[in-house]
Symmetry: C2
Subunit: 206 residues, 2 copies
């Protein structure tokens, strides 16, 4: 199939969303944990985590601004802005359905943790909840944001201030074994994959 | 293992790079095709492709600015700025080693296509090369860029103007079967995975 921009624009909304969300290739599936001004822990699935840099350690997520967002992601943004911290929590097969279910539009005041049966857990380093069931957890401090004019979205950048990884998933060279950790990969909006390592290729030389 | 920001900052550079590049979860592996002012086709591996939106269809990539970048990614940015177009090309297992090898620092004037044995192919819609061997190919027009202050990187945003997908990898609902297309997933800087579909979960309802 060949699609021009015109063809894409002529597609019905749901197939277009479904297709365009998948074209960049495999994505991460991260549960983003935040806490509201009323102390309600919030949890939302994000597929847009992107590595920004390692010195300092920075990650970004793309979200919609407050007025156009799904309720869960809207709360995520409001909470990050109001308290300055958020967590990213990897998703394994054993919590996949619960994790995906956090994207349902639960009413205000309902914590997605309670609604889907995941457990908030806190570190002394930041006031945002981690997911106890997640094997790999990242604690972040809000750094800055960029308003993307092209479609009114936001790039939110956070600095890694804590990283929790099972001992047997990382070696002294910093190699993190995501397959052993059970982390799933995501395609599009809702299709999850398990992975098998093909090869570590090392630094490419001429 | 638990790492604080201090622990991360105390790590030697290579293990820190290796670890932080892997913590966000699985990433896409895309060959970015551009063409220079001297008509040399350039190809570079990027793991930072991120979905920005589907109406209009927008993708982003993160890169270093001209002064701090690897040679291949520096050329990518210069070429995008000078001619306004770029392509993203998925990587399958059959071209994995060639694709990864594009990240070696080839001299100016050497096309990574020639150096690694991949084939540039052009569409009439844009003057940037696709990779003939890639099953899924995306043609993009440069839209805008954001300079990220926190670490002097750039978010480059492109609009999808062409999309080429094997007929049997996409259905009428827009579902794209990346496993069937052979697209690999990436972890960190150099570790590639093949995938197996677990489940399509659909839209989450309360």
């Amino acid at each position: 199939m060949r699609y021009t921009l015109y063809d894409i624009q002529q597609m019905p909304r749901i197939p277009r969303l479904t297709l365009i969300n998948a074209i960049s290739g495999f994505k991460s599936a991260n549960l983003v944990g935040t806490i509201g001004p009323d102390q309600t822990p919030n949890l939302a699935m994000f597929s847009s985590a992107v590595h920004i840099g390692s010195e300092p350690p920075l990650l970004g997520i793309i979200t919609r601004p407050v007025d156009g967002a799904l309720k869960t992601t809207r709360h995520t943004y409001q909470n990050i802005k109001s308290n300055g911290f958020f967590t990213l929590n990897h998703v394994q097969e054993d919590i996949l359905k619960s994790a995906h279910q956090t994207s349902a539009p639960y009413p205000d005041g309902v914590s997605e943790f309670d609604a889907v049966g995941l457990t908030p857990v806190y570190s002394e380093l930041l006031p945002a909840p981690y997911v106890a069931e997640s094997h790999i957890r990242i604690g972040l401090e809000y750094v800055e944001e960029y308003a993307i004019k092209a479609n009114n979205t936001l790039l939110i950048i956070g600095k890694v201030i804590e990283l929790i990884i099972p001992d047997d998933c990382v070696d002294a060279q910093g190699n993190l074994d995501l397959a052993y950790a059970g982390t799933v990969a995501l395609s599009g909006l809702d299709t999850y994959y398990k992975v098998e390592m093909l090869e570590r290729l090392g630094y490419a030389r001429v």
